[in-house]
């Protein structure tokens, strides 16, 4: 999937070879391409609110994909980082009245520190343990937020903070305008995408993929597997913190649900539907999931039944997701 992938040895003009070449080019220009698509997204989708949601959940899924898709760690506790990013941003504004930039920094830093603590506990375990431990630790965060209601608003969620405009010297962004809000948030998503692309191209990126493919061998080759996993948890936690922070500024409330297992579930589904371990997968997944929700919820309140069933079918028959399957079609040499 990277630029170094071998060219398909098929007769010229073959549709598959052309698709493969196209996908190769897409991979080489993955960051600018994603940003370009995201730039026109609000004008294609039926509503601007849906576009903002795709942006936030896409960023969330991109962070998750680093852990699940590239490092091979199936986490079920990522709502903890998303939620803590959102809560810390909201609480900093609501309780201390700090500026949006400081609040975001606190949210992202808090999510990263939490990721470091939870990561330190969970990377000590092997295999399927990881999934169970991350879920249980995230529930710990959930119940803590539920009990600390004087800080977090408990079951009602955190309210009472609104960022309506952003002042940058010589410039003002009105966050009440959905289009301006979208492009403001896109800046952060673009930064996260660029960072992740750099990380994946670095030797660290190669290390985590080696761990995913064969942990025992990576260990035998002398890589510090536990440390690499921990870093992966932390970086992906920071990106999820960015998503959480954006969601707090978008909604002007932080629902308790943002810490719930349910939120983690959504992102697992998005990432797998789109294609785990591929750069475009998470956004493709977030987009298809949210559009599916948008369309289905028009005629049934039980849309989750269909989404869940689609997910089960994907696990059974298309485990590589939409984008991964497309990649397979383009690079298969038979």
């Amino acid at each position: 999937m990277s630029a170094g992938t071998q060219q398909p040895t098929l007769p010229q003009g073959d549709r598959r070879a052309r698709l493969g070449a196209l996908l190769n080019a897409a991979s080489r220009w993955r960051v600018p391409l994603t940003i370009a698509v995201l730039c026109i997204l609000p004008w294609i989708l039926p509503s601007k609110a849906l576009a903002v949601n795709v942006l936030i959940f896409g960023t969330f899924a991109v962070g998750y994909n680093l852990l699940f898709g590239y490092t091979g760690l199936l986490s079920f506790g990522h709502a903890a980082f998303f939620g803590s990013g959102a809560y810390l941003t909201g609480m900093s504004i609501a309780h201390y009245g700090v500026s949006w930039l400081v609040a975001m920094a606190i949210g992202i830093a808090g999510a990263s520190i939490l990721a470091l603590a939870m990561g330190a506990l969970s990377v000590r375990t092997r295999g399927v343990y990881f999934s169970m431990v991350t879920l249980a630790l995230a529930q710990l965060v959930y119940y803590t937020a539920l009990q600390a209601s004087s800080w977090t608003g408990g079951e009602n969620g955190l309210r009472g903070f609104t960022v309506s405009k952003i002042d940058i010297p010589g410039f003002q962004i009105n966050l009440l305008d959905p289009v301006q809000k979208y492009y403001f948030m896109l800046v952060f998503t673009a930064a996260a995408l660029w960072l992740l692309s750099r990380i994946l191209n670095s030797s660290f990126g190669a290390t985590i993929e080696a761990i995913r493919e064969n942990e025992v061998r990576a260990r035998a080759c002398g890589y510090n597997v536990d440390l690499a996993k921990l870093w992966s948890v932390v970086v992906s936690g920071s990106v999820r913190g960015v998503a959480g922070s954006l969601s707090a500024m978008h909604l002007s409330i932080v629902p308790l649900d943002s810490l719930h297992y349910h939120t983690s579930s959504l992102v697992v589904m998005m990432t797998l539907l789109g294609g785990m371990g591929s750069f475009f997968g998470p956004f493709v997944g977030a987009l298809s999931f949210l559009v599916m929700e948008d369309v289905l919820s028009l005629w049934t309140t039980h849309w989750q039944l269909f989404v869940g069933a689609v997910f089960v079918l994907f696990v059974l028959f298309l485990p590589k997701g939409v984008w991964g399957t497309l990649l397979d079609l383009g690079t298969k040499n038979d």
């Binding site: 506990l121 399927v128 630790l137 579930s265 039944l305 696990v315």
Partner: protein
């Protein structure tokens, strides 16, 4: 007075522990045998509770519910193994986690469609209403019944596993499926049956817990987390570990709720974090499974 209070709280802890043992038992049996981490576990526990409510309403008898519901849900379990889990045996362990996770999602939504979004009340069976003097105070009869039932279930399970030929095959199969295949045992059939039994036990736990908990479509999420906490503390795949960890967690949560009620649920997860810090493989887990 103080001692009596603590004594009563310990008894409550034993009741909670008994329920926790039931949440972890089916889960741990399925993992120990099939290596499948069943993320639909919480949803199946919830379906067990709903099946119990439905059957008790139809027949007017709690005892019928206790007998029929686990069998009915166990049959659902058999179907799940046959059509959803079996195609994944040659795929990475994560795939069965993802599949059962998606399945749980579908099951919860299915229950919402049939029974509605809100929780439904499930009253204590009339024969077990009331309290009884246990020497240090009055204690609800139903809760004592829960302890007795779980002890009975554990004894039956122990006899089944240790004293019967089928149990011998199951134990050998969880140790080394390859050798068992060489010896001519049809492991697929065995996994099929064990999955059904595991799901049936889970459903039984759901019915026993129903009069003490709010029966709602969402109840499974906490159950899933509880099952994870108990199995991580006890050691994955160890039945003895699940039993001891379940009672331990129950007693700790009860004692914490005596002194700091708001910390009760949190303490369960904190205990797990503590165990992970010092013994990542769990109290009864083999070192290879942990660090």
């Amino acid at each position: 007075m103080e001692m009596q209070l603590i004594g009563m709280q310990l008894l409550s802890g034993a009741v909670l522990g008994a329920i926790l043992v039931m949440t972890a038992l089916g889960f741990t049996i399925i993992f120990g045998m099939l290596g499948v981490v069943n993320f639909a576990h919480g949803a199946l526990f919830m379906i067990g509770a709903y099946a119990g409510v439905a059957i008790a309403e139809q027949t007017g008898s709690f005892w019928w519910a206790l007998l029929v519901a686990p069998i009915a849900v166990g049959i659902i379990g058999l179907l799940i193994e046959r059509f959803l889990i079996r195609p994944l045996y040659n795929r990475p362990a994560d795939d069965s986690i993802l599949l059962t996770f998606g399945l749980g999602y579908v099951l919860v939504e299915g229950v919402r469609i049939v029974f509605g979004n809100d929780g439904i009340p499930f009253s204590t069976p009339s024969a077990l209403v009331g309290v009884v003097n246990v020497g240090i105070g009055y204690f609800p009869i139903y809760r004592l019944f829960v302890i007795a039932s779980v002890v009975l279930i554990l004894v039956l399970l122990w006899v089944g596993l240790e004293k019967t030929k089928f149990g011998l095959i199951v134990r050998a199969g969880s140790r080394d499926p390859q050798i068992m295949r060489v010896l001519g045992v049809d492991m697929r059939k065995l996994w099929f049956i064990v999955f059904g039994i595991g799901v049936g036990l889970t459903a039984l736990g759901g019915i026993l817990a129903a009069p003490m908990r709010n029966v709602s479509p969402e109840m499974g999420t906490l159950v899933l987390a509880e099952a994870f906490v108990v199995t991580v503390i006890g050691g994955l795949g160890s039945i003895l570990g699940a039993v001891i960890a379940g009672v331990l967690v129950g007693v700790v949560v009860s004692l914490v709720s005596l002194f700091a009620p708001e910390m009760a649920t949190i303490s369960m997860f904190a205990l797990m974090a503590l165990v992970l810090l010092f013994r990542p493989q769990g109290l009864f887990g083999k070192a290879a499974a942990g660090a």
